[in-house]
């Protein structure tokens, strides 16, 4: 067989033909795509609009109503704000829609006449009205409320006006990030303890109370954490600080070499593994032509990666990782990442402040002199500390003063990223906190400066803008209705025999639902649930209709200012694909986890 093959000329070799046809196919496909892109570029040139990404680095000079930065310094930052605003609706919306949908789904199965009919009625109304109409309705509904007037000034539990909706909320304090990491850590710990107790139960057969153990330890640590225990997590920030300083020294070539080495290593290992597998008794060290092709392809891919890493593409990527702000004013590099972690999770919050991005190049400041100490009283505007602002890259130092933002007795001093930092005035916010990570507060209506206008004060309770409220409620209600149908279908898909079998084994109703019905129902529910989440994510783009600045609205503003329609469309497509694929990956992961374990 082998000899027979060898005598054939290469163009009659089956293996060669097989591979060649595939490669030709691939090249042809790439060529078609390439020619279409070229066509578009040429056509754009004919309309006198040259395709360019340069606008990502230019200052758009347009304010955004809400988001991380309301006055973005580059097109890239503006896009980023739009993306975060979209994710804000999507992520909170998915959780809210799941809870509401599950509740409605169970209500639909209720034997209580009123409950069942009410949820069915809601379903029919919401399902049969277009989402856009619903969103407009919610907006119009809020706008029917009166404007904020002089007599509205004060504190409320719930307040609705034409300016939005405000309600009490747990607002995060400077230490909130530490607390959240702590919460995650003790959650994982409690989970481990549960598994450990179950293991003992299975091994020794005695009652170990795994649930009681894990919940008890979780709440014990939670209380300890709330009153300051969370600060042990500061060690992460402490380490991140050192890593940041370390990686800051690395040149771009390091990442080029690193990625090339990784590619070579992976290529080498997989090839070696392949060769080793051929040495087994079964394969007897015989290589077919197919196998040679595989090895050659492996080498080609590795070489391609190495070449790419040392081309302009790889250099750009490495510069980006180093944190050089040459690419579209991006400050997302590895040092900046660890620096950010260090700032959010600092082990000793008294010693450090973060400067706003408006201070060009200045990233952080070290306090050199505390003028106010805990226990003293300050009024707004008092100098509390002096610090040196440092350039992340160089030794440029600049002395700055830190002023108090609020009047009050200092219990403990935390410095955090300010709300209104202006370089010329050198004023920085200092927060006087009682060191709780989260603080429950009620919404407050205040006067804007010396004008007669009123608004919901920042940092008191939570106030939702009309646009945010309308789009959020719109997508949540609409998706929840479809999820309720999924939940109902899931529960009904579990055959009655399963429940009866469980009951005959002596399970209680709770245990029956938890151990028999739900695990089987979730298996049916997960794939359609994922589709609903995808719908929710995509429907957030309707926010543009109610002036909510999500990615589509922001992108449209940008291409109107810059004239670059095609790049903005590409960004939209890439972003929505990324979000959708991420959601489906998560759903698929749970789907695999929930699958019946086959032995």
């Amino acid at each position: 067989m082998k000899n027979a093959l060898k005598t054939l000329s290469f163009f009659r070799n089956v293996v060669f033909l097989k591979w060649a046809s595939q490669i030709v196919f691939l090249v042809g496909l790439l060529y078609i795509i390439w020619s279409y892109i070229q066509n578009a570029v040429i056509n754009l040139e004919q309309t006198n609009i040259a395709f360019s990404w340069g606008w990502l680095g230019e200052t758009p000079g347009v304010s955004i109503a809400e988001g991380m930065y309301t006055l973005p310094n580059s097109g890239r930052q503006m896009i980023q704000v739009g993306m975060l605003n979209m994710l804000r609706v999507t992520v909170t919306g998915i959780f809210a829609a799941t809870f509401l949908g599950t509740f409605l789904g169970i209500a639909r199965l209720s034997k209580n006449y009123i409950v069942e009919k009410t949820s069915t009625g809601l379903l029919e109304v919401v399902r049969n009205v277009p989402l856009l109409v619903q969103i407009f309705f919610f907006q119009a509904f809020v706008l029917t409320f009166p404007r904020l007037e002089v007599f509205d000034v004060g504190t409320y539990y719930l307040h609705v006006s034409a300016k939005g909706i405000a309600f009490p909320w747990l607002n995060r304090q400077p230490t909130a990030y530490l607390f959240w990491v702590y919460l995650l850590a003790i959650f994982i710990l409690a989970n481990k303890i549960y598994k450990w107790r179950v293991q003992i139960l299975e091994r020794e057969g005695r009652e170990t109370r795994p649930f009681l153990w894990s919940v008890g330890i979780f709440f014990g640590l939670l209380v300890a954490g709330w009153y300051g225990g969370y600060r042990v997590m500061g060690v992460i920030g402490f380490l991140a600080g050192y890593i940041s300083t370390g990686v800051d020294l690395l040149p771009a070539i390091f990442y080029q070499i690193l990625f090339s080495s990784i590619a070579v290593f992976i290529g080498y290992r997989s090839t070696k593994k392949f060769i080793d597998s051929k040495k087994s008794e079964e394969a007897q060290g015989i290589y077919s032509d197919d196998d040679y092709f595989k090895i050659i392809l492996n080498v080609i891919v590795v070489l391609l990666v190495v070449v790419l890493m040392f081309s302009s593409v790889g250099l750009g990527l490495s510069n980006f990782l180093v944190g050089d702000e040459i690419v579209f004013k991006a400050d997302w590099g590895v040092p900046q990442f660890f620096d950010g972690v260090n700032n959010k999770l600092y082990w000793n919050p008294e010693a450090k402040i973060v400067l706003d991005a408006q201070l060009d190049g200045m990233k952080r400041a070290d306090i050199i002199d505390w003028i106010a100490v805990p226990g003293t009283e300050v009024t707004k505007g008092d100098v509390i500390a002096r610090a040196t602002a440092k350039d992340l890259k160089g030794d440029l130092n600049q002395e700055i003063s830190i002023y108090a933002k609020y009047t009050g007795v200092i219990e403990e001093v935390f410095v955090s990223q300010g709300d209104t930092i202006k370089i010329n005035e050198k004023t920085y916010d200092i927060r006087v906190t009682d060191s709780k990570p989260l603080e429950l507060s009620r919404p407050k209506i205040e006067q804007i400066g010396t004008t007669k206008f009123k608004r919901y004060a920042d940092g008191f309770g939570k106030s939702l803008s009309v646009g945010y409220f309308a789009i959020w409620l719109g997508v949540v209600l609409y998706t929840a209705i479809f999820i309720s149908e999924v939940v109902r279908a899931g529960i009904m898909a579990v055959s009655k025999g399963q429940s009866e079998a469980g009951l005959s084994l002596g399970l209680g109703r709770g245990a029956l639902l938890r151990l028999i019905v739900l695990p089987q129902a979730i298996r049916v529910m997960l794939p359609p649930m994922g589709n609903q989440y995808l719908n929710l994510a995509k429907n957030t783009s309707l926010g543009i209709a109610v002036a909510y600045p999500e990615i589509v609205a922001v992108g449209q503003t940008l291409y109107n200012q810059e004239g670059q329609t095609l790049p903005v469309f590409l960004i939209w497509m890439a972003f929505y694909s990324t979000v959708s694929l991420t959601i489906s990956t998560i759903i698929n992961y749970y789907n695999r986890k929930m699958k019946i374990v086959e032995r």
Partner: protein, 359 residues
């Protein structure tokens, strides 16, 4: 079997590659055809089609208004009619296309409209980056803000008074940039809410979601007149925060088409300078004013035929639509916008409305 599959694959791949080539050729041919089509000038396309496609606003009081019967009227609309009158001798041969501020330039460059007469501001970036050219300014406007008198605002308020306020405007306009820049210069931080159409901004302003609204002064005056709030709403600051020269916009590098549009506007202005109106156009003594005679094709030396139009093209414009003053007074005087004393007065009276000589 296996061989068959391979042969099939090979043939398939070849077909695909061949298709790739043909599609590419087709694309090239298509672009060539488009070239041919583009080689056919905009004027020829319009004449062949039999009507003009004119991009107008979705609603700007005094500039583009749609009546209950679907008829269009307004300052910008009249200039669309004027261009149609110049090309066809019949002002009614216009198809209007209402465009939002955000979609107007895409519509123009995609060829959905032949000309954009949609209170569009002439700026450097729009002229260079967006692939447009701008015709003569028909209305000199400027951005202003509008707030309630009951909120302590008056016509003497300034940008410094809006610190911390929520401002509404429409997306895809120069107003977004102007207000951001203007507020930044005086150190005021504003919350800028951008909506699709300016009428939504007014709705939000009336409901109280927005504290103030901002757009071109003419738009604000128009809205204030429509909402009958002359004494309740104040327009400020007194000198506009920006220059907003509004005029027709067309695709760049189309000089014949540009000439037609430009001279349609100039013809209305020159007619105004000579005092030629719809009423006296036939009784006017053209021998005494040779420039007017040339422009209207009444005597020798007319240049319209060289532009691809009929000799009496601009006669038809003034006969059917009127001169600049007539267009202005008809549409904008009812709103309280007058030429006297402003930038839109005749150049001989201290204004900026000026046309190059027709000779």
């Amino acid at each position: 079997m296996n061989k068959k599959a391979i042969v099939f694959l090979l043939v398939f791949a070849m077909v695909i590659v061949a298709c790739g080539d043909t599609t590419d050729e087709a694309a090239v041919e298509a672009t060539e055809e488009e070239h041919d089509h583009e080689g056919e000038s905009t004027l020829e396309q319009v004449q062949e089609r039999g009507f003009l496609k004119c991009g107008v606003s979705t609603g700007a009081t005094g500039f583009t208004e749609v009546g209950d019967d679907g008829s269009y009227s307004g300052f910008d609309v009249d200039y669309c009619y004027a261009v149609a009158a110049a090309i066809f001798g019949d002002y009614s041969k216009v198809e209007f296309k209402q465009l939002t501020a955000a979609e107007r330039f895409t519509a123009l460059s995609a060829g959905e409209v032949d000309v954009l007469i949609r209170n569009t501001t002439w700026t450097q970036s729009r002229d260079t980056e967006l692939g447009n050219d701008f015709g003569p300014t028909t209305y000199f406007d400027g951005q202003q803000l509008m707030g309630r008198v009951s909120d302590g605002l008056s016509s003497s308020s300034t940008l410094a008074d809006i610190d911390g306020l929520r401002v509404c405007t429409n997306a895809g306009t120069t107003t977004e940039k102007n207000i951001t820049e203007g507020a930044g210069l005086v150190g005021a931080t504003i919350e800028l809410v951008t909506v699709e159409a300016f009428s939504e901004a007014i709705d939000k302003f009336i409901a109280g979601e927005c504290d103030i609204v901002t757009t071109d002064g003419s738009g604000l005056v128009g809205r204030r007149a429509v909402n009958d709030a002359l004494n309740d709403w104040a327009i400020f600051p007194q000198s506009p925060i920006s220059k907003e020269p509004l005029g027709p916009t067309y695709r760049s590098n189309d000089s014949q088409w540009a000439d037609i549009i430009n001279w349609t506007v100039y013809a209305t202005i020159i007619a105004d300078e000579y005092g030629v109106t719809r009423a006296n156009i036939d009784s006017f003594d053209y021998d005494a004013a040779p420039e007017m005679g040339r422009l209207f094709g009444k005597n020798d030396g007319e240049l319209q035929t060289k532009m691809g139009l009929s000799a009496d093209a601009y006669y038809n414009v003034v006969k059917q639509i009127g001169n600049y003053d007539e267009i202005f007074s008809r549409n904008l005087n009812p709103l309280g916008l007058y030429r006297e004393g402003g930038a839109n007065a005749r150049w001989t009276e201290g204004g900026l409305v000026y046309a190059p000589p027709a000779r």
